[in-house]
């Protein structure tokens, strides 16, 4: 695991964005060679705060992605399990997920894999925990009765199949979950802990999120920042890709 500790939310976000950019550029995507970016699922389609609106406003409208290359789980599909199975097939067809980017809940869940979710689960319909419903209430005018109680989600196993996983954790309220995820054992009550068994995980967090970690852990990883920063500097661009590709290799491995 690489644990990247930045000072605050903006710096953590910026580091993560640069890392993802470099990964995409160095991968050298092109016709027939897709960089498959995995993201956790969210709210139902029809709601104005829907995941589709969220993704459009925060990501898709700012980049030149082709709509055919966007696959979002459809919570309104007639046969939900078939929709989930088809999603797994689409991932396989795209060559597998190159990089999965997600956050964790205060209860340590990744995507909607709530405590107790199998660590080898696949994409499926999941009942949401009360914690998650409360957290989502802000999207429904604080009215708990309006918050959906089920969601389609990628499974822990689905994410483990990705070639690389990046988890973003910011804020003091996530500190305990981060502690459970990386300093305690692998446990299905804290599903993010499953990534201790993944060969390529990057945790990006801010100072507040480290509040429950051992000082020793924090000092160790902060000491590695000089090396970790080589992953985001220099910042590559697609135009320079031709020149850099011959020189691109990871500065070090886990």
């Amino acid at each position: 695991m690489k644990l990247i500790i930045l000072e605050n939310y903006s710096q953590a976000s910026e580091w993560a964005a640069k890392y993802i950019r470099n990964r995409i550029v160095q991968f050298g995507p092109g016709p027939g060679r897709f960089f498959t970016l995995g993201l956790p699922t969210g709210l139902p389609r029809d709601h104005p705060e829907s995941y589709h609106s969220f993704m459009w406003n925060n990501f898709f409208k700012h980049v030149d992605i082709s709509p055919e290359n966007v696959h979002i789980l459809d919570g309104n599909a007639p046969d939900l399990q078939a929709e989930c199975d088809a999603f797994e097939e689409k991932i396989k067809a795209a060559g597998g997920i190159e990089l999965f980017v997600g956050g964790i809940g205060p209860d340590g869940h990744i995507a909607f894999n709530e405590p107790g979710s199998s660590l080898v689960s696949r994409t499926r319909v999941k009942t949401l925990a009360m914690d998650t419903i409360l957290a989502n209430a802000r999207f429904f005018d604080g009215d708990l009765s309006k918050v959906p109680t089920m969601a389609l989600t990628v499974g822990v196993g689905t994410v483990m199949d990705a070639r690389e996983v990046m988890i973003l954790i910011t804020g003091a309220h996530k500190a305990f979950a981060l502690y459970k995820a990386i300093e305690d054992g692998v446990n299905h009550m804290w599903t993010v802990s499953a990534f201790q068994q993944h060969p390529n995980t990057v945790f990006v967090c801010d100072e507040d999120a480290t509040l429950e970690l051992k000082v020793k852990t924090v000092k160790y990883f902060k000491g590695l920042m000089l090396v970790h920063n080589k992953l985001v500097e220099p910042l590559y661009s697609m135009k320079e890709m031709g020149v850099e590709r011959s020189q691109s290799k990871k500065p070090y491995s886990d």
């Binding site: 589709h52 609106s53 459009w56 406003n57 898709f60 409208k61 030149d64 082709s66 709509p67 055919e68 966007v70 979002i72």
Partner: protein, 409 residues
Amino acid sequence: MPSNKSVSDAPIVQFTNCRILRDHRLQREDLWVREGKILNPEKLFFDEKGSADVQLDCKDSIIAPGFIDVQINGGFGVDFSLATDDFKLGIDLVSQKILSHGVTSFCPTLVTSPPSVYHQVLPQISVRNGGAHGAGILGAHLEGPFISKEKKGAHPEHCLRTFEAGAFQDLLAIYGTLDCVQIVTLAPEMRRSSEVIQELTKRGICVSLGHSVANLSQAEEAVQHGATFITHLFNAMLPFHHRDPGIVGLLTSDKIPAGRRVFYGMISDGIHTNPAALRIAHRAHPKGLVLVTDAMAGMGLAPGRHTLGQQVVEIDGLNTYIAGTKTLSGSVATMDTCVRHFQEATGCSVETALEAASLHPAQLLGIEHRKGTLKYDSDADFLMLNESLYVQATYIAGEEVWRQDVSGM
């Protein structure tokens, strides 16, 4: 990028690198247009899996809805109140020229005239969409002849009329037809005005109060019967008095029916209203302010003498007077100058200034679902403006119909 659209094959244009006026704010967003309407890019992306065919870089311009002028008597030598043989050519000329002022829709206005003029001219005005040929015509604005003698302003006294005998039938007889009429300005203190106002409102015609000596109660009664507009506030009406505010008092009246808003036209050319008065009106009732030019035939021409209906007027700089008098008569202001002057005089935001010339007139005429905004599915009539609110380009139904010459005027 190839697009795969399931709804329509028409080309999709994406205007990028711009700030658009939407939801009362200037936002850094792209504007998408298809088949003459503003397109929702999110629906296009997810439902149709479509993308833009053409992307245009707007070089950080401001994109605002096209201006709507609801009071313009003519311009460039053309007088809408003169029944000439080439009247149609005249209206076409004006509608084409005002594109450079940012006006994409307008109401050709007729001042008080003899019935023969109305009978000859009105059938030649038709509601039509704008385009490369010129701004769209929303309908005629008939200012008079049912107005007050004391406040006739530049209108010819011998043509003034009343409707106390036959109310609405009298009005219809004078005008001949109401087919293409969008607004009628009248003085509400005239006998039987309530019936007339009700009848006009029933037919979807906007009734405006102006050229009147009405007191506040008479004005309020007119609003209760359906009047929704005030013609050039302050001009040609009794001045504000603290014990009887007159028509001006409508701006803060508490007798306006619920759910209705009274709009008021202001000629913000710096001449017709002192900037301090403009500020008072704006601060009292900002959401009702509608910028109008009240431009007459001399607009766009050199100083000198021109006609305004049955009168001769004289232009001297920005001032236009009845020849030989000091009575103001129409203006030579252009809509974009009015917008800039309004913004400077009141210190209001750019958004407010732009909305006073686009959203508010559209709301007045009840057409804001398709004009006056950049909402999805509304008509793609818009302007590209620079930081100082000078019009750089005018678009109607998504097509560029005018562009500022790079070399200058």
